[in-house]
Symmetry: C2
Subunit: 231 residues, 2 copies
DNA sequence: TTTTAGATCTCGGAG
DNA sequence: CTCCGAGGTCTAAAA
């Protein structure tokens, strides 16, 4: 990994065009040829970047016609796509290179799969008398998150999201259409369960007879403290 | 901006939990307190991070009970949310600090908004006699990208995407259902316009009577050269 | 401030 | 390989 602090301007030409005026920035060159251009603020997304695999070619001012004041130019070319990043360096402020080795990678806990497990274990949260049929009920067009039975014995298909968006309602609608063709299951009701449900998604869901439920995952996690076993 | 190369382990606790085993990584501390943990590979997303605003507190091994071999511990706490990043440093390999100043920021060209502006100005690209009704025509379920009238005076709803996917066809279908309930507008045709249209999206669109059009952004920008004044 | 939809999305998994 | 869905999404614009 190579770290450079430099006064530079940056241009990206590829799927779109983007330009960064002259300023001091961090240029981070990774072992796979990818380059990140970071300023001293903002979140983790760089101002500009080149995805790997890529190759970095350095053009010296003495070798070529560069703009006035440019010490050197970096041409970062994506190997797979027709994407190019051009960095004009006007002043080198810092330079260092380090061997990091390969990273063992990230271990995660608490994503949608865990929330699905929690709701399956506390299925009565959706209503008294609810019982679980199964999680990940497979259909021809994909798995239904949770299939359950309500107090009256009717089948209920549950789509689970962290944030309930229109896309999720569409997804559940497709499942319901399919499930309701199965005489052993029909009639199947739909429940759209999420931490937050967007107004537009709620309108669409209720227009289609799909029940909307907001879930308090923190409370659910508190009931089932096996979620904290990992750490 | 502070750059540290260190052998470290990292734990994030917040909306989820995530753990990084011991390895050599780049730790990037920005002026707003945000921290990025990068390895020497992958794309621009850090292995782990803390979003700004945040505060970094350093705990020395002499001041506290840290695990065996830990020289110091960084506790990065989000100011706004209950998110915490804990970095245990086992070995300092590099350290440097730089003053970057504020960045003038990125100038973009070629995103969906540009495409929409260009197509609105050159609406006759869709067919002779087409006229613009308006961009961002608001409905109860969201804005239609462009509403136009064809040579015969019929209303046309246009959904614009950079990459035409099934989602975009579904979106346009919803708009068409709604618009066709309005007797002042009905009948409304649909046009799905994108730089590229995925085969599955094209099949679905045409099955629903929606016309597909691919757009040449470069050519459209060439006609309206106000877009090129930026560079 | 909150909401909404795009993104050079990135990233991982399934087929 | 492509396609699809999730994300500690991030980001900017609009209400």
């Amino acid at each position: 990994m190579r770290l450079v602090i430099a006064k530079c301007s940056v241009d990206y030409v590829g799927r779109l065009k983007a330009h960064l005026p002259l300023a001091v920035r961090l240029l981070l060159v990774k072992a796979d040829g990818s380059v990140l251009v970071h300023s001293d603020g903002g979140s983790y997304k760089p101002l500009n970047w080149m995805s790997p695999p890529a190759t970095l070619r350095t053009v010296a001012a003495s070798d070529s016609e560069l703009e006035e004041g440019v010490l050197e130019q970096w041409v970062v070319q994506s190997t797979k796509q027709d994407d190019k990043l051009i960095i004009n360096i006007y002043e080198h402020i810092h330079e260092s290179t380090h061997d990091l080795g390969t990273d063992p990678g990230l271990i995660k806990d608490g994503v949608e799969a865990d929330l699905q497990r929690l709701l399956a274990a506390q299925i009565e949260l959706l209503g008294t008398g609810y019982t679980l049929i199964r999680r990940e009920y497979f259909t021809a067009i994909g798995p239904v998150d949770i299939l359950a039975r309500d107090a009256k014995g009717a089948t209920v298909a549950i789509e689970l999201k962290r944030r309930g968006d229109i896309d999720g309602v569409e997804q559940l609608t497709r499942y319901l259409e399919l499930l309701n063709r199965d005489p052993l299951l029909a009639p199947v009701r739909g429940v759209f369960a999420a931490q937050q449900i967007k107004p537009q998604a709620r309108v669409l869901a209720e227009d289609r007879g799909i029940e909307c439920r907001t879930l308090d995952y923190d409370a659910m996690r508190g009931v089932d403290d096996s979620a904290s076993r990992l750490f």
